[in-house]
């Protein structure tokens, strides 16, 4: 089962690098390692908060947290995976080896 977590930096997990501030749905993420400041949509913030607080998580666990009480489909898992891959390319998440 593929699991996802925040990436490691030079001094261990980069959880301490990130600051997330939310107002309404959207939020602003600051990365202390790069100085980047970005506005993220609400779902991306929800997924990132899950990773910040409950890593490591599988794609199905993340999908279940986003859609509580709903029957999840393969398409849901695929969309979550796509977001996580984007996070990975942005350096804010990494896929853990099985």
């Amino acid at each position: 089962m593929t699991r996802w977590a925040l990436p490691d930096g030079l001094q261990g997990c980069r959880q301490a690098d990130f600051v997330l501030r939310r107002w309404g749905e959207e939020g602003v993420v600051y990365d202390d390692a790069t100085g980047s400041v970005q506005v993220w949509n609400g779902v991306a913030c929800d997924v990132f908060e899950l990773l910040l607080t409950r890593s490591p998580l599988s794609e199905s666990q993340i999908a279940a947290a986003l859609l509580p009480g709903e029957d999840l489909t393969e398409e849901d898992f695929t969309m979550v995976r796509q977001l996580l891959l984007q996070f990975q390319s942005m350096g804010v998440a990494e896929c853990l080896p099985d």
């Binding site: 600051v19 501030r21 939310r22 107002w23 309404g24 959207e26 939020g27 602003v28 600051y30 202390d32 100085g35 400041v37 970005q38 506005v39």
Partner: protein
């Protein structure tokens, strides 16, 4: 002696000739809250501008003062085809020379550069800043938005000027530190201010600058006398002047407001995480609006009706 100011020596206590002589020799030591600046220049328009626009600012005794935050000068540079001037800070020339006639404006721009380049104990944000009833209004805005005209108008309408260009934010407390200096006006706004507020003290007019015609208007006496009073922000307004448009106000989403503030910050990167969190706290504390206006009186009325954030 204008009400509210202490009995210390003011620049207005010296004659223009004395100011010129001091600037040409050992310089003037001026308290420009929260800084002390040591200025020298042999160019007459610099003396003229300082004498007019900093009339109520405290003039310190260089022999006893000793320390200045910035040592600056504006000097003539002769070219055979065009007289120029240069700005220096501690012997370093950060700008290419400008036309001789822009010497006073060059001093103002140079002082702004000094603060934004070297004052890193505070977060600096490109914004007009004013205060009323103990709470601060910030207006970050790009050139051409009408910010400076609005800033001068608010000052003449009873708002206390903290700065027309730079918000100085204490990262820990979230308080904004006043730095009242002359308000920079450009092109049509000069005539607008002259017509509406004939009592306004306008400094030397520099024509044909990169930005057109530039002049400065003296900060109100109240703004200077209360320059020690810091205050918390309450409103973040992004203004846009559009001739002929009626007043429209929209909420500005806070996430984007934070990115805009960070974009307008001169040194958020220096402060890192602490700077980001200070800006986030500022946004959290404020009501954030986009304001589009075509009539200055309508805009002033809107600002006067602003309520404290809930």
């Amino acid at each position: 002696m204008p009400a509210g100011l202490s009995a210390a020596l003011r620049l207005a206590d010296m004659s223009l000739a004395q100011v010129r002589q001091r600037l040409r020799s050992d310089g003037l030591w001026l308290r420009l809250p929260p800084f002390v600046v040591h200025v020298r220049s042999e160019i007459p328009v610099v003396a003229q501008g300082l004498h007019l626009l900093y009339a109520n600012h405290e003039c310190l005794d260089g022999a006893t003062q000793g320390f200045a935050d910035f040592h600056v000068s504006v000097n003539a540079r002769r070219r055979w085809f065009r007289p120029l001037c240069s700005f220096e800070m501690d012997g370093f020339r950060p700008f290419t020379p400008l036309a001789y006639g822009e010497a006073y404006a060059f001093l103002e721009w140079g002082l702004n550069w000094c603060v934004t380049s070297y004052c890193h104990t505070l977060l600096t944000i490109h914004s007009a800043v004013l205060e009323k009833n103990g709470r601060v209004l910030l207006m970050p805005a790009p050139p051409g938005s009408g910010k400076s005209t609005l800033c001068a108008a608010l000052m003449f309408n009873g708002w206390r000027l903290l700065s027309d260009e730079m918000a100085l934010l204490e990262p820990g407390s979230g308080l904004v530190v006043p730095a009242p200096r002359p308000v920079s006006l450009k092109n049509r706004s000069i005539e607008v201010v002259r017509q509406r507020w004939p009592q306004a003290v306008l400094g030397p007019v520099a024509k044909d600058t990169m930005k057109g015609t530039v002049a400065h208007v003296r900060a109100s006496t109240e703004s200077l006398s209360r320059a020690h009073e810091r205050a918390l922000p309450a409103w973040l307004v992004f203004p846009k002047y559009q001739a002929g448009e009626s007043l429209t106000v929209q909420p500005h989403a806070k996430p984007d407001a934070l990115v805009q503030l960070a974009s307008n910050s001169f040194n958020q990167h220096v402060h890192g995480r602490r700077g980001f969190e200070a800006l986030a706290a500022l946004v959290d504390r404020c009501d954030c609006h986009d304001l589009c206006y075509g009539d200055l009186d309508q805009a002033l009325a809107w600002f006067d009706a602003l309520e404290l954030p809930s």
